[in-house]
Structures are given as structure tokens and as C-alpha cells.
Amino acid sequence: MRRRFLPYILIFIALVLSVLLSVAIGSVFIPPGDLWRVITGQSPRIITQAAFILTAIRLPHSVLTALTGAALGGSGAAYQAVFKNPLADPYLIGVASGAGLGAVAAMAISWPYTFWGLAAVPLAAFLGALLTVFTVYALARIGKTLPTTNLILAGVAISAFATALTSFLMLRSSGELHRAIAWLLGGSSQAGWGPIMILLPYLALGLGALLLFGHALNLLQFGDEQAQQLGLNVTRTRTLVLLIASLTTAAAVAFSGVIGFIGLIVPHIIRMWLGVDYRRLLPMSILGGAVVLLIADVLARVVLAPQELPVGIVTALAGAPFFLWILRKTKSQGYW
């Protein structure tokens, strides 16, 4: 019994530590003593500036990062389960390319400085992501079945199409490419609690719903026929899980830009550690995604301080070798 909870306890400690690290480290140095005083609420008057930076900039940034990582980790695990494919990630059927197209298209227009004008980029990214996912879904469906091969192929084709359109828009635009490129690599200029308040309901509902599918996803691993015989409505499960995971990812991507690799590697790391039981893999991937993205984000902010790198660069640059190292270590076990 105790063994069952040990991984959760460990990852929870890791999450707390990485949040602390993320809050403690930034381009402005805040002495640990001041940090402690702000956290514990002592003598706020002397250290108002540190307190302001912590509560108005760093903490919301850390929370947004953790939420994004959680969404990507959880969706990644769900995608890998649905596709029974180790290469699946939350962007497999077009969330990232659709969001990228939406965002870059919105950036090409100079919006008025109003509430809706400022919401244009995340909103367009969100709608772009949903639109591509629905297109892929509609194209892949054959009658009442939803073959995964069709989904993957339609996803790859639609993604390539959307990416080509995005590149075309970027090359055509005469303005700054920095903004678009930074966005496509997971950079975001948004600070404060606003984005989190919008994101939270999507993620809470989406990730909460995904957790209910642990057992169904386990059954799905036996193959469609067996799962059907065991009483699972395969097509419905697949459709629901995909749409929930895509919606969750789309919401996260809309605010954080496209952050690659997290949704691919985190579920694998968890799987190598704990095995393939999705009732455990899903929650652990959600928490693990938050931990890994928080650490990557700290790196993105410190390696070239005060310049901040888009976090997507770090997740791929540091994530790929780390992942390969783990893969080599566990090669013999054939975990998949």
C-alpha cells in the first residue's frame, strides 16, 4: 500500500521544490532571506519591491508554466495511449501547427489596443488549434470507426499544410519576425494572473476528465477487438480522449506558445519508472510535466540572463539528451 503512494509523494516533493526554485530564481537576484520573509509574510515594508516581483511576476509565471507542463504531460500520455505509439505527442494531430497558424495570422494584423485586440493572438491560436483537430478528426473518420492510422496520416498532412501557411505568412509579413518566432518556440510576453484565470477552468476540466479514462486506456492497449470484447466502446473512448486532450493542449498552447518535447518525453520517463498502468501513468505524467517544464523554464531564464530564451528551445536542447540518456539506461527492459 505504501509503495503505491511513494511515487506520488516523491513527485509532489519534486513539484514543490521546482516551484520554489522557479520562484527563487530570476534575472533579478532576490536574497533567500528576503524570499523567505515574503513567503512567510514578515516585514513586507522593507522589501516591497521583492514582494512585488515575486507576487506579480514570478509566481504567476511559475503557475502558468506548471499548468502548461501539466497539460502537455497529461495530454501526451493520453495521446500515446490512444495511438499505442511511442512517437505520439499532444501535437500529433495538429494542435501546435493550427495554433501556430492562428497566432501568426493574428499577429499579421495590427489590432486596436483594447481587450479584444489584446486577446486576438491567444484566441486565434486556440481557435486555430481546434479547427485543425476537427478537420483531422473529420478526415480520419470512416463511418463509425476512427482508425488511428488515418488519424496520424491526416494529422501529419494537415500539420504540414498549416505549417507551410504559417511559414508563408511569416515570410510575407514585413514586420518583426521576432514575435512570431518567439511565440512558435514557446515564448510569451504575458505576465500576471489574467491568463491563469482563463486557463485554469480548461485545464481543471480537461485533465480531471482525462484521469477518469485510466482504466479505459489500459483496456485499449490490448487492441481494439479485445477492448471491445471487454465491454469498451473503442471509437467513443478514442474520440472523447482525443478531444479532451486536444482541448486541454490548445488552451495551454494559446497562452504559452508551442513548447515541444514535454508531451513526448514526460510520459515515457514515467512509463520507464512505473510501468504502463494508465491509472497511474496519467496523474504522474500531469505532475511530471509540471516539474519538467518548471525546471526547463528556470534554465531558459538564467542561462543568458537578463536575456530570456523561449522555453521551447530549452525543452528540446536539454530534453533530448536527457531523454536519450534515460533510454540508454533502460534499453534492456523493453518498457513499451
Binding site: R58, Y113, S174, A182, G192, P306
Partner: protein, 325 residues
């Protein structure tokens, strides 16, 4: 069932976003004239200006801690004598040399360190055309006063930008002498160029990572000063017919156009006349054969600040050295 859920979820999301997004007052249309209140009551005059995003920016006195987020605004601030009022700059602001001594708040990878900005305790942040509006909104939500200077689209527009920032930083008057001297220098170039009838063709190189498809300045437009400046300096940009303001031109087109002069705006990235001459296929160009390839300081013609006039003079000297003997 999920099909019915989706519009509901979207609607909830939109509602929530309407409730929780950083509240922003819709700007009311006003004149761009500064409104100075009656001075008999206030010892320090408040200043209200409308910025490039139609936001109304109010200052309660001369700003003493300014952060500039673009190289052009930094150069303008130094030129109008706001030197002692600047406390921070973005990573690209490298001119004048004194600017490099100021704390750097980031920007080189598209992201600014908002905590570094806050830590400098600015009483005014000046953003420019290259900064995304989300950054302005974000800084505003952190309680900072932000002025967004729309990118000037011509030399005359640049004069207006000088006046705007002079007003904003309570340095009114400084801009008048500066603009007069800049106008005189532009007029001197115009006068010299008016005497010539032969306009040499120019290829202005921005990037030639792929020497068969280099990047050049295209049609004149709001972000492209290079083409209009070349024309004003008495030249013809061979890229001026291209569809985009910044565009690639094939080596084939370049050979057909056979420019009289090659100007290397990418010389800061290490391009040299020797390297250009060594490129495969480039030796047929007459500019290469006659050695008319010149390194050029690109920031003189790409930053919409007072150094555009330096850029104009430098281009005119390159194109018509005989006029400046």
C-alpha cells in the same frame, strides 16, 4: 454528447476571459496635442499624450527613470538630451556608446525580463514599433507607465517622433534645434543630388546566407527606409520593384539587373567585399569586377531615429563621391 459540450465550454471560457483578463479601459479618441493644465495651481505641469496604440498616457511631472525598449527610441532619447533621465535599455540599444553602460533588460530573443524592468523602478517605459502590444499590456498591468511610440514611416515622421519624445520627457525646445539641423543636412543632400541626372543602380544586401537567394530591401513601405533613402541619395534600388518590403532576390535577377554598386548592410555579420567576390557566380556582376562593393553600417538606415540622416549622407557619399569632394 461532446459535440454539444464544446460550444458551452467555449462560451464559459470566453465569459471567464471577459471577467478576468487584465482590465483595460477602451481608449477615447482625443487629439494628439499635449494638454497642459493651467499652471497657476500646479507647480509641476501634468502632461497627457496619446500614444501610438491610442492609449492616453499621463505624466505628473518630468520622468526621471526612463527605460527604453527599442534602439530607435534610445537613440532619440539621447539625441533630445534626455541622457540623465534614462535608467535602462533593451539588448539591441547599442548607440550611442553611453547607452551600453545602462542596465540591459533583455529582448534579444524576443522576450524582455519584466522583473528586471520592474526592479529598475521606472517612472516611464518607452516602447516602440518592434514591441508587441501584449508586452505593453503586461507592463501596464504591473502598474508601470508605458508610452508606445509608433514606428515613424518617413524622415518627416521621424521629426514628429523626436518632438513627441521631447514633449514626453519635458525636453521641449531641444527637439527644435535638433530638427532644424537635421533638416538643414537633408536639404544639403537634396541640393547636391538635384544637380545630377545619372542615378546609379544599387543592390543593398541584408543577408546572403544563401548567395543564390540573398535578402534585400524591397519596395518602399512603412518599415523599409532603405529604398526611399537610396532614392533620396540619388540611386535606384534594384529591389524596389519587389513585392515585399524585405524580400529575397535570386542571383539570376541580380545578374539581369547588374547593379552599379553593391552595399553590404550585412557587413556587421562579417560579410566583406572579398567574400562577395569569391561567391560562385557573382564574378559576372560589373560591381564585383570593378570593386564597387562597400561595407555599410546597417543601423543607420534601419532604425527610425535621427541617424537616418547620417545614413542618407553616407549613402549619398557612396553613390556620388564626386559631389562631396
Amino acid at each position: 454528447m461532446f459535440r454539444k459540450m464544446i460550444p458551452t465550454i467555449l462560451a464559459i471560457g470566453l465569459l471567464l476571459s471577459a471577467c478576468n483578463f487584465t482590465p483595460l479601459a477602451a481608449p477615447e479618441p482625443t487629439s494628439t496635442e499635449p494638454v497642459l493644465p493651467a499652471t497657476e495651481t500646479a507647480t509641476i505641469p501634468t502632461l497627457t499624450l496619446t500614444d501610438g496604440l491610442d492609449r492616453i498616457v499621463t505624466l505628473s511631472g518630468p520622468p526621471q527613470r526612463i527605460i527604453s525598449l527599442t534602439p530607435a527610441t534610445t537613440e532619440i532619447l539621447f539625441a533630445i538630451g534626455a541622457v540623465d533621465q534614462i535608467v535602462g535599455r533593451d539588448a539591441f540599444s547599442d548607440h550611442p556608446a553611453e547607452a551600453l553602460a545602462l542596465p540591459d533588460v533583455g529582448g534579444s530573443y524576443g522576450e524582455y525580463s519584466q522583473e528586471a524592468i520592474v526592479a529598475l523602478q521606472p517612472d516611464l517605459v518607452i516602447a516602440g514599433g518592434i514591441n508587441p502590444p501584449e508586452l505593453v499590456a503586461s507592463l501596464e498591468s504591473l502598474g508601470l507607465t508605458v508610452f508606445f511610440l509608433a514606428n515613424p514611416t518617413s524622415i518627416d515622421d521621424m521629426y514628429t517622433a523626436l518632438s513627441t519624445l521631447a514633449t514626453l520627457t519635458y525636453n521641449e525646445g531641444n527637439d527644435i534645434t535638433l530638427i532644424e539641423s537635421l533638416q538643414a543636412r537633408v536639404a544639403a543632400v537634396d541640393e547636391k543630388i538635384a544637380t545630377i541626372s545619372d542615378y546609379p543602380t544599387v543592390y543593398y544586401e541584408l543577408d546572403a546566407t544563401d548567395p543564390t537567394l540573398p535578402y534585400t530591401a524591397g519596395r518602399a513601405g512603412p518599415t523599409n527606409f532603405v529604398t526611399p533613402l537610396i532614392e533620396r541619395a540619388g540611386g535606384v534600388n534594384i529591389g524596389s520593384g519587389l513585392e515585399s518590403e524585405w524580400a529575397s532576390i535570386s542571383l539570376e535577377q541580380l545578374i539581369v539587373a547588374d547593379p552599379y554598386i553593391i552595399i553590404l548592410g550585412d557587413s556587421i555579420y562579417g560579410e566583406t567585399p572579398e567574400k562577395v567576390a569569391a561567391r560562385t557566380g557573382w564574378s559576372v556582376l560589373s560591381a564585383v569586377q570593378s570593386g564597387r562593393i562597400y561595407p555599410f553600417n546597417d543601423s543607420l538606415v534601419t532604425r527610425p531615429g535621427p541617424r537616418l540622416v547620417d545614413g542618407l549622407e553616407a549613402l549619398a557619399r557612396l553613390l556620388h563621391p564626386e559631389l562631396f569632394e
